[in-house]
Amino acid sequence: MQEVMKKRASELLADGTVVRVLGWKNGEFAYDPTPAVFQTVESLEAFVYNDFCASNLSKYLIKFLRQEGKTLVFLKPCDSYSFNQLLTEHRVIRENVYIIGVPCDGKVAEDKLREKGAEGILGIETEGDQIKVKTLYGDLDLNKKECLGERCLSCKSHQVVVFDEMLGENGEENPDCGRFDMVEKLEAMTPEQRFEFWRGELSKCIRCNACRNICPACSCEKCVFDNPASGISQKAAADSFEENMFHIIRAFHVAGRCTDCGECSRVCPQHILLHLLNRKFIKEMNECYGEYQAGAEAGSRAPLVNFTMDDCEPSIIYTKEAGK
């Protein structure tokens, strides 16, 4: 796939269709590619696409929105939903982007390799479902499925929903992904247990803002948390309330706009299960206002900027809980 992508990128750069290519560049090791911009055919030498190219590239397009010339971007299924959402919010201009869809069967998480004992990694080779990891302390044979990132284990869709051309076969939606299983588990707990669970999670937060800054929905010119005039700006979680506050408000701000790409949880250095907050909103909105998948369709109206006259009353939350 990497070679096919490189070839198409070279062609499109060469024939002037696009002036830059947004992709991934090889890293120091086998597992650390970095999102990068390629402006010449020669520079594409460093282009890489492998099981570790997890970054969602769509957010970078905001930067190129107003720059001259078309940008070629490679979008995985997750990323394509984000792209549509950004399109809905006028953050990107469709005409300025040439999208090549690439199929994805899940990305491998470095942590999972470490959990399975891979330290001192010297090289990684993938063959089908097998991952051979060469380390300073011996070689490991791992199963790829067992090393996938958490979000890939409950992937909602293998379908690239917006593209100019598709490389390889496009996948399908995966309605039985079970992405709400963990949310349901939490819902089944008592409020006390839930409180303890979230205190445990959110108290780990170091306010590095990685979750916010990677999030394609958090594309604000100036985040309220960086804006002293907002009254809620914070730089550190100086109190447990602020730990909660940051994450509740963030989840709220992206509610209805979050495509569930899972980047927030992927990048959290403290491994907080942040996507569970977003998924709760998605689940609740689905239940209250009908199924809605942000980014499935450009131009769709998110549930929180919409209404019907016979929407449920907020007290339904309490009766729901009582019903359990």
Partner: protein, 666 residues
């Protein structure tokens, strides 16, 4: 920190009875920002107001807090007082320590403590109040009425009478609307044309009224007081200024088989035609789809016979652009299509007709010249069955074209039809099958009872299940009689269906142009169901007639007058002073995501690409929102929808509300 003055009102004993006003003034006087605090028996009295005015000057106050009755009561009074002392009127806050404190709490200690907290909240808020100046926008002294039926006509006449120019846009070649097709009107049985025609003529003659017939609204921009509208004038191929309405062309035109809209297709007209004798303007139209000259390039007969030389085959449609201060929607209604109701055999038998078709049959200028006749064989029907609620009051029906609402006018016009039949042809048997007879209106029930008691109309509670055309040309009507609990089979000669009415199809695209809201049935939504029934939530847009909801002629005329008075009230102003408590977008923070515009009920938010380039960072163009302060009503929906906090509401800013929260929870 601003210099704040606090003024605590006793309101006689209304407040002082359960709130220790001295303690309140004393405690609030210790707040860091407060430089003056006092109490007085009646702050709203002239003496009380003078205390405030004097203190503003003496202590150089930069903010005023009055602890008194509800701001709904005296906020305006105190604003004026503050303003008179030279302070911006919006640097005032009222702490409601009467309705929301002294009157509810009997315990002096609790009441006093709460009054202090409410005072602190007001002090915290007023610290952040911005001096607001109400914006002004000029008012174009001209109104547009869209739709030339009785609703539009009446609105236009009333506006014109007040001395303002008003334009009527009517999509048909003549104004007049549905009322021209109606024979008599309930509950007085006046002749419809007799009361409508003079109004139509008046429209044509009134200097203040311009009629754009055969025209449609193409685009609307702008806002209250300052709309800009493009009107598309369709080509009628007849010079309106030259045509005398003599009608020779319409007689000579060789194309004679065009279904006549005025008669709902029950008779034919020529390709050159004047819709009906009293049409306004009384000018011929060439039907461009049927005229031989216009379709095939031959003929040209009408041009030859027109002595005025008014025929112009080359006429093109034109666009007129005009500015208006107010717009009235009066787009009216149509009966629904009832082809889906197989059980009533409407498409099988010519003798099953809709009520509006029946009007045409009864009316002297109709297809039967006013004689009650069956359309199939011209015979006078001996038994007529009226079926009520065809397509009205349906829910999730399998027919798919039914309406959930009651069409409101059917009960009364059916009573009228039944009565007219019995009056003109006493040997006719008339049955009315009804679900409920709804006659709320002056003299309405009396009218209906007359039909039953004096005219002997058979009112049967029950619905018709089936109408079956028989071999002998009659119609077998099968229905239930719920009172006697039997199934009836009536052999009828004619069946009249009271079809539901629905808003004209042109209403929805118009609503989009006007950014006026509509309900799911495509009726325009009023600004308030009870208190602002003739205004659209979009400022400067008013509603007249059935486009807002089903109504009969008297109600329509009443609403038309009401809409006109609202328009006159608007046009009478030279400038509109806008509510200064409106939303405002901080362009530096705006992402241009459109969340705010999505929730704005007034269409007050627009977007534009703006250049934010800075020398050191290079070029930067962003899409940012801006609020039209003349259109915004200040609800604040956008402020919450905005993820970046770029939207804020003047007078109720995020920081002001949070300051109140903080002060209360302290």
């Amino acid at each position: 920190m601003r210099r704040i003055g606090v003024f605590v009102c006793h309101c006689g004993t209304n407040i002082a009875g359960t709130v220790d006003v001295k303690t309140v003034a004393e405690t609030l006087g210790k707040e860091p920002a407060v430089v003056y605090a006092t109490d007085y028996p009646y702050m709203c009295s002239e003496a009380g107001q003078n205390i405030i005015k004097d203190a503003i000057k003496e202590y150089k106050l930069e903010g005023v807090v009055v602890c008194s009755c509800s701001p709904r009561m005296h906020e305006a009074t105190f604003r004026k007082a503050v303003s008179a002392a030279g302070l911006n009127p919006y640097l005032l806050e009222v702490a409601n320590i009467r309705e929301q404190c002294s009157w509810i709490h009997k315990d002096m200690e609790a009441g006093t403590a709460k009054a202090i907290v409410l005072g602190r909240a007001a002090i915290a808020k007023v610290q952040l109040n911005a001096p607001l100046i109400a914006g002004e926008s000029p008012v174009v002294k001209r109104a547009l009425v869209i739709g030339g039926g009785i609703a539009g006509i009446q609105t236009a006449l009333d506006i014109a009478d007040a001395g303002y120019p008003v334009d009527i846009v009517e999509k048909e070649p003549t104004i007049g609307g549905k009322m021209t097709q109606i024979d008599k009107t309930f509950p007085t049985l006046d002749c419809s044309s007799c009361i409508l025609t003079p109004k139509m003529v008046e429209c044509a003659q009134n200097e203040n009224i311009t009629i754009y017939s055969y025209s449609e609204v193409e685009a609307v921009t702008g806002f209250v007081g300052n709309f800009s509208v493009k009107i598309r004038r369709k080509a009628r191929f007849v010079d309106e200024n030259k045509c005398t309405g003599c009608g020779v062309c319409t007689e000579k035109c060789p194309v004679k088989n065009v279904p006549d809209e005025y008669n709902l297709g029950l008779s034919n007209r020529h390709a050159a035609y004047i819709p009906f004798a009293q049409a306004i303007p009384n000018v011929a139209v060439l039907d461009k789809n049927r005229c031989i000259k216009l379709t095939k390039g031959k003929c040209g007969l009408c041009s030859t016979v027109c002595s005025a030389g008014a025929i112009d085959y080359e006429q093109k449609e034109t666009i007129v652009e005009e500015k208006y201060g107010a717009i009235v929607a009066a787009t009216g209604y149509n009966p629904i299509k009832i082809d889906g109701y197989d059980e009533f055999a409407y498409s099988q038998s010519k003798d099953v007709v809709t009520s509006l078709e029946f009007e045409r049959i009864l009316k002297a200028d109709g297809p039967t010249d006013g004689h009650l006749q069956r359309l199939s064989d011209g015979k006078q029907p001996k038994t007529i069955v009226f079926v009520q609620c065809v397509g009205s009051r349906e829910s999730g029906s399998s027919h798919g074209c039914g309406k959930e609402y009651c069409s409101k006018i059917c009960c009364m016009y059916t009573a009228k039809h039944a009565m007219l039949c019995r009056e003109k042809y006493p040997d006719t048997d008339v049955y009315v099958f009804y679900i409920d007879v709804r006659t709320p209106g002056k003299n309405y029930d009396e009218f209906y009872r007359r039909a039953v008691e004096q005219y002997g109309v058979h009112y049967i509670k029950g619905m018709v299940g089936k109408v079956a055309p028989q071999a002998d040309g009659s119609l077998m009507v099968q229905a239930s009689d719920l009172i006697s609990n039997e199934q009836l089979h009536v052999k009828a000669d004619m069946v009249v269906l009271a079809a539901a009415i629905e808003p004209d199809k042109s209403a929805r695209p118009l609503a989009t142009m006007l950014t006026a809201s509509m309900d799911t049935n495509d009726f325009f939504t009023e600004a308030h169901a009870k208190l602002r029934p003739v205004e659209s939530p979009t400022a400067g847009v008013f509603l007249s007639g059935v486009c807002q909801g089903p109504k009969d002629i008297p109600e329509t005329v009443a609403q038309a007058g009401a809409a006109a008075s609202k328009v006159i009230g608007l046009l009478a102003k030279d400038k509109l002073s806008c509510n200064p408590c409106v939303a405002h977008s901080n362009e530096m923070m705006c992402n241009g995501c459109s969340s705010c515009a999505n929730v704005c009920p007034y269409g007050a938010i627009t977007y534009a690409d703006k250049d934010f380039s800075r020398r050191q960072d290079g070029s930067m163009i962003r899409r940012v929102a801006s609020v039209n302060e003349a259109v915004c009503q200040g609800c604040g929906a956008c402020t919450v929808a905005c993820p970046s906090g770029a939207m804020d509401l003047k007078g109720f800013s995020t920081s002001q509300i949070m300051a109140e929260v903080d002060a209360i929870c302290k």
